[in-house]
């Protein structure tokens, strides 16, 4: 696990990003620099702006102001959402940014195999046989090759979410965005999804992970960012962040969420 040398141009960079919905400012000027292979956990209370941040990165939400750079090139989000030429460029950008959602969002009318091969075939223009070969390898790696012809409704939540991750990986993205991907899962299914994400981190995938799983944030991520009321209230290396949080807001958040963890554990036993 290396987090890229400091001299290297970061893979992804945000400067003073703002996002408002109507009068409500959700992101109040955040800046972030993500090195290649870096795993960043983004934590914070719900409504703090974590998900909005991820959704701005692949322009599912159009930022209100601020600049974003990906692989050294500026993401001109206003132009990308304006006309047809922009739309083509936007598609290219999104093709290299994988995103996984809280509610999996697999397409119910397509089989597992079709879910995974859809975008490579129709967006990247990969031949169908090639896409299927690739998908088989990916499904095999998560132990779901026997489910290739099933429809998503026949899979457990954990299996669906792992297929959703593999569907994003099939595009060979340069960065992966995870938006609370374990929040909708039954507790006993959380582990298999986190294991897959841990393995990706080990393989040096660049990852931005919005999560409530403090274990993952502490043990797998390199850096933790605490989002509080639309700003980065605190950020630092995972170990320091948990061992010695500096801000009162961080301490309060951690004590609340870790106590919940504890209660859950006692409940389970």
């Amino acid at each position: 696990m290396n987090s890229g040398s400091p001299h290297e141009e970061p893979l992804f960079r945000i400067e003073q990003l703002h996002k408002s919905f109507g009068d409500h400012e959700v992101l109040k000027g955040v800046s972030l620099s993500v090195g290649k292979g870096e795993v960043i956990a983004i934590v914070g209370a719900s409504g703090s702006g974590k998900s909005t941040l991820l959704r701005c990165i692949n322009v599912l939400e159009v930022p209100t102001s601020g600049r974003m750079f990906f692989g050294g090139r500026e993401i001109d989000y206003l132009r990308l959402t304006q006309n047809r030429a922009g739309a083509r460029e936007l598609a290219e950008l999104r093709a290299s940014i994988g995103m996984v959602f809280q509610s999996y969002n697999l397409w119910p009318h397509r089989t597992v195999m079709e879910n995974v091969t859809e975008a490579p075939v129709y967006v990247k223009g990969v031949s169908r046989t090639e896409a299927i070969d690739e998908a088989e390898l990916l499904l095999d790696s998560i132990g779901l090759s026997d489910k290739r012809d099933e429809y998503p409704a026949r899979l457990s939540g954990g299996q669906q979410q792992r297929v959703a991750i593999v569907r994003a990986l099939a595009m060979r993205p340069r960065i992966m965005l995870f938006d609370e991907v374990t929040s909708a899962l039954d507790p006993e299914l959380v582990g298999e999804v986190l294991d897959l994400m841990t393995e990706l981190a080990r393989k040096d995938m660049t990852m931005l992970v919005v999560t409530h799983e403090m274990g993952f944030a502490r043990h797998v991520s390199h850096r933790v960012i605490f989002v509080h009321e639309g700003v980065f209230a605190e950020e630092g290396p995972a170990r320091e962040f948990f061992a010695a949080p500096k801000q009162p807001a961080t301490r309060q958040f951690l004590s609340r969420i870790l106590r919940d963890d504890l209660i859950e554990r006692t409940d389970a036993s």
Partner: protein, 222 residues
Amino acid sequence: MIGTALDYLQGFAAYMPGYASAFMIAVEVAAVTIVISWLCGLVGVLAKLSRYPALRYPAEFYIWFIRGTPQLVQVFLVYFGLPQVGLNLDPFVAGAIALGVGSGAYVAEIFRSGLLAIPKGQPESAHALGMGNALTFRRIVFPQMIRIVVPALTNEAINTLKNTSLLSTITIMELTLYTQAVIASTFRPFEFYIIVSVLYLAITTILTQFAKWYERRYALYL
């Protein structure tokens, strides 16, 4: 006794070839009408959900007009009204257009409810993978919408089929007009209206069964 019963039945048998052709006319005009209504519905819903007011307002006017006026009046408007502005249409064409455009407004609303039933995460995950709007609609949204609306669409097709009886008023020799003609010469309204009801029921029952089968088949996946 048996002889009179046979005579009685033979009396009906004489009208069967006529019924067969009237039945075919009703089915043909219904089929053409249904296809027109799907096209109008698709254009209508895309226009109504468009972000351009120049498309949205006409679509809203269309749906408002059709839903607020009787279908019989719409048929008369096309068949008797349009010739006044120089558009003389064959009764079959006029009937299919009037009923098709008329049903299309309802189909548009059915499509709209189908689109609204699709969770927004569905197109969103397609967009996140780099699929553009057109591709996402064609590959992800449209197929799911169809599955949701097939039962309602079948109901609308049944309505359309029954509404072909309105075309008896514009000289199309479909089931209802033929029945009226037969009754005029036999003075047997009870029997012949029962016969024509059975014929309508035969088609509508097939359609209802299809909708049930379809729902069972796809309930698994959605």
